[in-house]
Symmetry: D2
Subunit: 438 residues, 4 copies
């Protein structure tokens, strides 16, 4: 994905010079045992791998996240708002809570609002008024799945949103959401910029599929793997419980197979993993059905894990419908496979026992596990540091173990995919023993 | 359900007089601090409630389960077989394990076979040969869901089964399964009786729906409640996460609503529980859709829990198809409700966000929780005591906190239902606030 | 435990004739498909087992719980208070919530207070003022462990408590607690009776150890079994992970071994279960250490589960100290065993790897599982029905699958123990293979 | 930790030129959609951060792990052995299983042995003979905690081990263990090198504390965080359940506070986190007890999380004892704190309710969660690739999201610590609100 990136792509927009002293009271000296401000200009290399005959590119550098000694906003003059958009994802409430606590306790921002029902809540014609967040309100929300602010899909007019923000004197806006949401966030930031409104607009990337570039691991993904693994284990138990048992599990993954591949590999019980990135032949020798039959004949049971975005080429015509978030509507590969498998084995005269499991809503609505809780807390607090410093039109990234400031326009210019050439996918192949389809 | 029962219905068939001394070495004296044999003729009252103006019936007495001082079989002459039939249920492996351990360690039965693929495994023309169970084989199986013996649906010819049992010298047969399985068990016992074959045929009732009479609580049901509650909680989180969010959860329960009602009450998050025992009007004033609309208008979210056997009257014509177990095929109430709700709100001009969840396979394939593990262990060991004593054509029951011997013909003569007049259903009504449909 | 009971022991005190019509609007006719009031005088047999040569005693009858057609209190004149006492137990918040919801939504009681810090909160000199409970406050508390009202140990002066109740016009008092708490509840009810104060004082039994008579299964116990089983499984893993590994788990159970025995049997991994009811020899041939050595020599690992009240006879002198709840302080059997085992094997020249686990606080502070949630809801709603009917000085019991009204004086007159002669303990012996110590 | 590293420190020892063609059949071309061999010489930058005025050091490069096109061993001539050493850690069985499966199915190594009881099993005088691993044996072990090979502490004589390896013709040795184990691994590799024995000795780092350098995240640590968080949540529930409730949780962490800090931050319920890296004053103004008192007075409850290695300076004299692994025996800070807190509040006349929880064995003996299962699988398969390629005296590292080959001598030359100046620790401070002790 690096081919077209230039150093300019990593320049993070700012609202202006940071002139106020941060109230955090950290140290600027390393080695004194005290927590440190991140120096202005701290960067992390984008490309870190090399091999003989290949020059290491050290031009592409990403901006490190973290608290700065000088900040743009005077905290007592700030009013913040948090909005959560799109589908549920484990950890949303953790993010809301940590943004609030960081603003409230650490920077002393007097007012933090919770916008309700996603971007609709920034449209006074549609949404209910925002909630005023308090320490009591957020006290226990991190143990709940879902989002206490509720969510919705789809954008609202950026001009109207900036009108609203100005009318309410909101100068810090935190948008938690995926690809589509971040495009909306970018539009709001651009509109604010056009009007020279000093509003810091900062994104926290939310993608349960883990398919955002510059976000090595997004919050909620690990929890999703855990729940998806449980579903695969159940499918395995069902498959082994009957003669020629087949467990078929459909998992999330519109464009990227990280959940399907990760959960399958974690469970070690899948025999086939089908993902959007690998186009597989369904019929004919060497095709999926043929391979499935061989597995059934050899072992009398099989487990198949399919990402919802896999196999779209198998449908006669591609769907052109979109949902409210602007995502192309996928055709139902799980149901297609279920039907094709049934017909295939019936035609072959082999009685099978198939169980089809679609656990999506059960996966995404649970509370965050510990690692995701840590990610949420870090992303949230880094977003606050960034906004207070006057960074805008950016989201919090995570690469090479480092939290980063990534311009939204750069982050949304591409999708992250599970490369079929990666070691990760190799392990999936090795664990399942499935054919290598190219 | 007591109207037609007579004392004869509780007489447990036996293979003949018990003349061997049990190897268990228990005490026959109460108060010496040692475990006791259950005396011959120990009984438990069937009816235990009364009220003014009603005579307590003390004629109906059920036989207590438990180890007997004198047994019918000489253990060293025994060969046992265990078969698991029908759909998966948490605890099957616990039952297999405890039957084996009790036979092997306590009674010293030299050979215990695990029949594979349900009754098919008792048909030498169909099934693979049985497994020889060993302490090593069963050591860890109780921590796994499913059944290591695998299962299948449907009966096999009793004559052929008895032929097989005799040819293999099997004189103890343990059948773990539901209603249909127990009818098959009864047929095997009758056939053995007709031929004067001294084969003890003992059933262990398996019904995740908890709908067998004389079995106050069947193993696996509590685990199912736990997993079903998790699904309802997810539906609740989804419903609260969006404007006019509706979470619709379909749960098991062909003839009885115990899982739907129990899980809904345990979660305290359901607003409507629909069960087979309560015929509800769908449309019109006072109907389900009308009540749902009121709920949505008042609170902007709703959770609906529906048992798969509910609302069958809403389909134009009843299904006449049956599955391999002889169960009438149900029509899909979950999908019907989903479609009806969508159309209703669309017609009413109210945008909703509905999430439909069907977690059935995830519920039934997990390992047993602690209470179910205890039930399994008790049912299994009691089944062994019963068979060794020469009891046959019976299953292990549980009423009033006591394990019992119940003739299979009596147990399968009726179904257990969740009475709409019970305190349990009253609590569901009180917890959900749903209308009382009669 | 039945030897000394008389029919008088089951007569439940009442405040006077129930003359108001219940607002619940239930049916009095069976068979109309509507939930029913429980008729006045409905009873459940106490003794239900018999055997040849033994006469069934039908004199002892317990009062059934449930909603009555006529109630003592006019709901609009009621003010209720709930207090939770003693140690934490899974389900306390469920009980609080269901009492509140039943009073508020079903009976229309206008004010329900949450007393804080146990009985101390009924002493205006000590406790903080009570909370006013609302639907919003209780909405999610059932998913939390612990008690939102907080707790404390020890009694307060009944005269002062009745003064306080009268000064606050509280006429419905719900006391959730164990043995000691219920004695306090009884004292309050007696004091109110002495003063002819029409205050219904109703107990909800709380005993994680499940050691209250007339309460076949107390809430929280099943959840405790689940968590205790996890600890035993960990001990088993540790024991198997090292040469001569010994896992020693101390569990709750001051006077009764139900948690230790139940969790051990559910896990099937324990080799020794030591409970208060079975006095075991520590040293010498046939003693515990000798048996442990044989196990280690045969299998190279062992798991021991000990209830905290076991083996008190092994200490030189009995403790005479008591805690604030009036419970005799136990001496630390877990530590004693750990030390004795170490010395024994050191003396024998056998290197062992012992891991000692005491998970008590982790077991009792988790949220209730589904079955316990159901128990809590039922106990709570039955307590409200009882209080509204004018029943007092009683607690909710559960025997033979029926919820009951039991006079507190009868309930606290004895303790429930795990009989070493019971089938339950027999199964523990059979599962562990441990010696039968008498 | 980079100050003293030189490029030489990253040179990975090899047994000799890799001349055999790998049987894996991967691609050497990027972009063909097929999984790729990792090119000889592929490297990852060690230092990737920079800031103005600081030169990026590009000299230090670490070797990438992964399958190579040419390998050193002819697989059919290989015999492998796996040994697990030291304390339990979630994921050990996953590592064993994936090493076996990769050797067996992918490289076709005919014999893989499981060495029992750690290094003792490599001493024929002590250990039992190794297990012959098979697909059946490992089939389900990844769902179990602990290690099926069992473990032990402490080294054995490297000369004797190499004798044994040669006598058994073992030429691939995989050592799973921590710091001490890896020192032993290094000694074995050195001894083999000295004798010119072509034995590949490869380490898989195991440290539940996550305190090995060059291993950004070690397997089992995430699972440990999850279980430790549960214990902290229980402590919080206990603390909130009583007046002046104090929950004190001791967690693992001999030299590094990652578990204590991570679990506390994930739970968001801790008020104090005490770790080995931060020396805190106990008494006096500004000390821990003083701060705790302020917290109790303000909020009436507090949660303290302490790593076992914290506060060793508070003991009169340092312990000089060591355990069998060569770790210095720590003095019991949890008990010290418990006693000091009790005395302090008693002296201050403030009644407290303290609950002390030590969940260590419950944390480390559970099965691996999904993310740890993925780590285990990756580490194991990379270890196999490395060994087959002839790499030796190295362990699998993980930095900047990349799996690496790290010379053991470099890896064990230092410890990884939680820097009090890091953003991670800053978040702990921000979340707890505890004082910044330097």
């Amino acid at each position: 994905m690096d081919s077209e990136l230039t150093p300019q792509d990593f320049i993070v927009p700012t609202l202006g010079p940071a002139t106020f002293r941060s109230p955090l009271g950290l140290s600027t000296v390393q080695g004194d045992g005290l927590g440190d401000f991140v120096p202005h200009g701290a960067r992390v290399l984008y490309q870190i791998e090399t091999e003989p005959g290949r020059t290491l590119c050290t031009d592409l550098m990403m901006e490190r996240a973290g608290p700065r000694e000088k900040i743009f906003f005077e905290p007592s003059q700030c009013k913040a708002a948090i909005v959560t958009c799109g589908g549920l994802c484990p950890g949303l409430n953790n993010v809301i809570r940590s943004i609030f606590l960081q603003l409230h306790h650490r920077y002393g921002v007097p007012t933090v609002l919770g916008i309700r029902y996603g971007y609709q809540g920034l449209n006074p014609a549609k949404g209910p008024p925002p909630l005023l967040l308090t320490p009591e309100y957020v006290e226990r929300i991190h143990n709940q799945g879902g989002t206490v602010l509720r969510s919705s899909r789809g954008p609202e007019d950026p001009a109207m949103i900036v009108d609203y923000l100005r009318s309410e004197s909101i100068n810090l806006l935190f948008c938690v959401g995926g690809d589509g949401t971040q495009r909306g966030t970018h539009a709001i930031a651009m509109e604010a910029h056009r009007r020279r409104a000093a509003i810091a607009v900062v994104g926290i990337p939310k993608t349960i599929d883990n398919d955002l570039p510059f976000v090595w691991r997004s919050f909620g993904h690990g929890t999703a793997l855990e729940k998806a693994r449980e579903a695969i284990n159940c499918a395995h138990t069902e498959a082994r419980g009957a003669l020629n048992g087949i467990g078929l599990v459909q998992l999330m993954g519109r464009n990227a197979g990280f959940i399907a591949a990760g959960a399958a590999l974690a469970s070690q019980e899948a025999n086939f993993v089908l993902i959007p990135e690998v186009r597989f032949p369904l019929e004919g020798p060497g095709g999926f059905l043929d391979a499935l039959r061989k597995r059934i004949e050899a072992r009398q049971h099989a487990v198949i894990v399919v990402a919802e975005g896999a196999g779209q080429h198998l449908f006669a015509s591609e769907s052109s419908e979109c949902d409210a978030s602007g995502n192309r509507k996928l055709q139902d590969i799980g149901v297609l496979l279920r039907d094709k498998i049934s017909h295939y084995f019936k035609a072959a005269g082999i009685a099978i026992n198939m169980k089809y499991i679609d656990p999506s809503y059960i996966i995404r609505s649970v509370p965050a596990n510990s690692d995701d809780a840590l990610l949420c807390d870090a992303m949230a607090r880094h977003a606050v540091h960034a906004a207070m410093t006057g960074k805008t039109d950016m989201l919090i990234g995570l690469e090479h173990g480092q939290f980063l400031h990534i311009p939204i326009s750069t982050a949304v210019a591409q999708k992250k995919h599970l490369s079929p050439e990666s070691e990760f996918w190799l392990r999936v192949i090795e664990s399942t023993g499935q054919p290598t389809w190219v």
